[in-house]
Symmetry: C2
Subunit: 647 residues, 2 copies
Amino acid sequence: AGSLWLYRWYYSNLCQRVLGFTIFLILALAFVEFPSSFTRTADVRYRSQPWQPPCGLTETIEALCMLIFLVDLSVKGYLVGQAQLQENLWLLAYFVVLVVSVVDWIVSLSLACEESLRVRRSLRPFFLLQNSSMMKKTLKCIRWSLPEMASVGLLLTIHLCLFTIIGMLLFTIGEKDEAQNEERLTYFQNLPEALTSLLVLLTTSNNPDVMIPAYTQNRVSALFFILFTLIGSLFLMNLLTAIIYNQFRGYLMKSLQTSLFRRRLGARAAYEVLASTAGQTGATSEAVGVNPEDFLRVLQKTQLPKIFKEAIMQKARSYDGRPMLADEFQKLFDEVDKGVIKEHPPKPQYQSLFLQSVQFIFSHRYFDYLGNVIALGNLLSICVFLVLDSDLLPGERDDFVLGIIDHVFILYYVLELLFKVFAQGLRGYLSYCSNVFDGILTIVLLVLEISTLAVYRLPHSGWKPKQYGPLSLWDMTRLVNTLIVFRFLRIIPNVKPMAIVTSTILGLIQNLRAFGGILVVVYYVFAIIGINLFRGVIVPPGNSSLVPNNSSAPCGSFEQLGYWSNNFDDFAAALITLWNVMVVNNWQVLLDAYRRYSGPWSTVYFVLWWLVSSVIWVNLFLALLLENFLHRWDPQSHNQLLVGTRQ
Amino acid sequence: AGSLWLYRWYYSNLCQRVLGFTIFLILALAFVEFPSSFTRTADVRYRSQPWQPPCGLTETIEALCMLIFLVDLSVKGYLVGQAQLQENLWLLAYFVVLVVSVVDWIVSLSLACEESLRVRRSLRPFFLLQNSSMMKKTLKCIRWSLPEMASVGLLLTIHLCLFTIIGMLLFTIGEKDEAQNEERLTYFQNLPEALTSLLVLLTTSNNPDVMIPAYTQNRVSALFFILFTLIGSLFLMNLLTAIIYNQFRGYLMKSLQTSLFRRRLGARAAYEVLASTAGQTGATSEAVGVNPEDFLRVLQKTQLPKIFKEAIMQKARSYDGRPMLADEFQKLFDEVDKGVIKEHPPKPQYQSLFLQSVQFIFSHRYFDYLGNVIALGNLLSICVFLVLDSDLLPGERDDFVLGIIDHVFILYYVLELLFKVFAQGLRGYLSYCSNVFDGILTIVLLVLEISTLAVYRLPHSGWKPKQYGPLSLWDMTRLVNTLIVFRFLRIIPNVKPMAIVTSTILGLIQNLRAFGGILVVVYYVFAIIGINLFRGVIVPPGNSSLVPNNSSAPCGSFEQLGYWSNNFDDFAAALITLWNVMVVNNWQVLLDAYRRYSGPWSTVYFVLWWLVSSVIWVNLFLALLLENFLHRWDPQSHNQLLVGTRQ
């Protein structure tokens, strides 16, 4: 009984939320810790000295978090039981990670936070990983597809190597035209250079550039690059997508089936328990089954959502006290599968005939359409003013007309809000999500407009007030207009095909949490490693003889493009840098810059990150999206499979 | 009978090949016609005056081709029949295209080939299109998925517009910091500029650059760009992939089923005909069925491949003259589905015991492995010399050692060839594809080496012969080494996982013909349109005041990057330019250049090409690859479906 209570307590909402918040907290510490990310810019040229937390602040928070993890680990260990504890590798790893973190924490404190390497920082994502069973499953899926991916990877490597050798043989300096061919040296100068060029071409990031010198000499040599891109980028890379998708095809279906199976098993077990207690108390032996009253009493204590509970209770009452058989008992829980149609509160009833007709007008859908048309008109007016004002400096702009127009539109929005509340009642109004979205934005807009009026008075022609308070009138107007643009999004649910696509995307986001979690883990680990490897490597120009002056830097180099903010000097900057490498475009610039500033081995880090993020994760994402989408657009086969497990 | 004979003649191999060659010829004319592609380079700076065909040459070929098409059209029209002719839109369109072409041809001749616009050039791909039923089917499939794609396209447009407006509101010049913000003007100066910037960001082609000015000012603004890329590039673009894949999912299966169904229908019809003739001649009424001898006689006249014919005949003989029933008759043709295992000729029998043991050694698979290891060694030796020689000019290189090594390796290859022929016999050797590949390369290498020896004599230390003949020694060596690299590909079938992946790709290529055809059509039409729109628009620097000097051109511009060869001045150059836009990377440079040289409307052409090639076609390709791959890796469900149609 004690362990059952502990189990319930551990899996209660409160406990799980505290645990989730703790994980979030310990991960978020990376922004605060040295090197902290609290500067306005990440650019090494303009960056001010950031605020550094005093020694002991983040360490105290860490200690609290680790205490909670310790409790979590012991409860989990107790619940799993002595026997299974030793087989559960995740729990063992949890223990090891926790011990290492504590030891590293003690070392850290004893050195007064001045230690050179914080091992525990790169271990932190493990806490996120071990807390989610979906993420563990996804990891397992990825591990299964690794052998096939390795074979494609091998093929890619051979493809790359062969083309490198052929490229070097084709594009070396000939005997006759030495001076002319000097240009070709840029991309095929030596083996590592050629290999890097073609590796980058595999991501198409240097596409026309790499072929230009050879192509300018001779048309035919373009074929070499086209062939390379076709085989590598179109065939082999997409084959990777296919392999990953093949592995994840039944993924969603399987997890649905598993959860259904578990529920049915649980229901059956509950039936057996309830039936046996009924058998003990009941006198007649033929009344084998569960007494609905017993069931209702037990149901009251469970933690199902209220709507499902009521639906099940209603169905259970229909048996009129007659004992339920196993099949009937199972069918009760099918109610949970049925989509619950949210009921909207009834419209308020007005007595007067005039009020009734007004209510009819404002709750009609044409009134909604009118609102959409007016929102579109507002958007267009903003566009027109953007076009008109684009060449003017802010001082020269006349905000009079735009100000008046904004006032009129916002007045309309407020009136719309009021009429709708009148027609549907306040609770009826709030029961629609789109109304809540509308309403909040309208109220924020109203508050902004009133405060603008209060500070800057009524607009008049040639109206150029000075700045009062934290926001200038110009900033206010910009903010208002941005919010109006957001408010325009309300039209999306009204357009049928867009609504379907949007609901697919929203449904995807729910299934995406495991994948997003893995992305967070990967980003975190790579960012921490990147900080340890490359912090302070990029030095601003002028401070060092290494860096050429901005004007003398060759075109397309890190310095000329001004990529100074793409560094690893703090956590936030590292995340953005990793994002830029993940998007792949122009990553050769970063490759080249870090090779110059930090040494040739930095390439390994970037190529590894490219493989993990862009090759594996993006393909994983595409596989998930395909899976989700095909499910939603082909619900027939979906239901069929679920029925299959039911029988 | 006449029309049956015509039908047979029309669908005979010869006729179809002539037609295919005619289509190829008329398409290939684009390279020859004015502006012809016969220059060494496409660069406007260095391009020489190309050879132009005299008026009448290409026109004569065209006239011949059109005559053949006329015959084709009339035969097809006759075979389809009067009644269906008017409903067959493809044939009607064929007729219209042919008429327009002839009229245009006459106009062309009467103006002595000096007309400004050749309409018929852009109509030519239609001949390719109408000749392939697979391409017509694929087109239909694409048309079906257009509505769904339009809804995603609408969403993409809204996404783009909203972010453009928000971006312009966020990144305009503020009131306080005018000088500082000057930089942001590059990407969000006015509405068209901002729209183009974000459109290009959707393809991630200007990824870090577009965020750098704002991100340098403030870290937070990076979120705007990341959010835009996430929603646009990761969600909406991949949703397009999902939609296209959804449409093409059953595509392969359906066409397999259709062809199977047609075959069974044909077999059944043949059975009915044969059975009725048998019923007339046979006396007993209970012997309903086909007489195997009748069947064998008919089978002799059909055009099945020989292997299948023999298999069917063997099975038919097993009925021993007893009449076959419908089911048995159908089963005969299942032989065609069974994969035919190619039998290799028997090994030659040698009398002497010594020869037998030698034969055993050289036909053992370890001998193959040894050959692979030696090929790898040769590749490595080439690599080593490439690394060693990379910094030397060709005049300083000593080719003595490499020359000797190459001689030794090629000697080994020749010996290997001879031993294998000895062990397996010549016919046995040639029955393996890999051997043929090996053998041809080895013989070419041998010829090259012997001619090198004949021209340049034996190598010795410090050996630097002058050039004789068309190829220098250095070119010879390069050619030899390139061929050796190709020969190394023989190891691929020996590595199991790579063999699977390679066979998938090869299988894909067979299914790809329809898609490749559509790509050719699209490329052709766009290239011709591009030539008509943009020929001569790009002018070399120095000739015009429009073009800044190379050194003064801003970084990242068309002129600085030297993209002079990416023009539409002839057909081959146009194809390469379109390829570069299709690969998408750095296409904003071309967009910008053509906007400057040709006017703002050129953007429409490039965006349209991007949509057709990169968005639709690449996704189509991915869908086909997924479909093909999943088929091959999941043959169980595949067979199941085929069985489903059979019953």
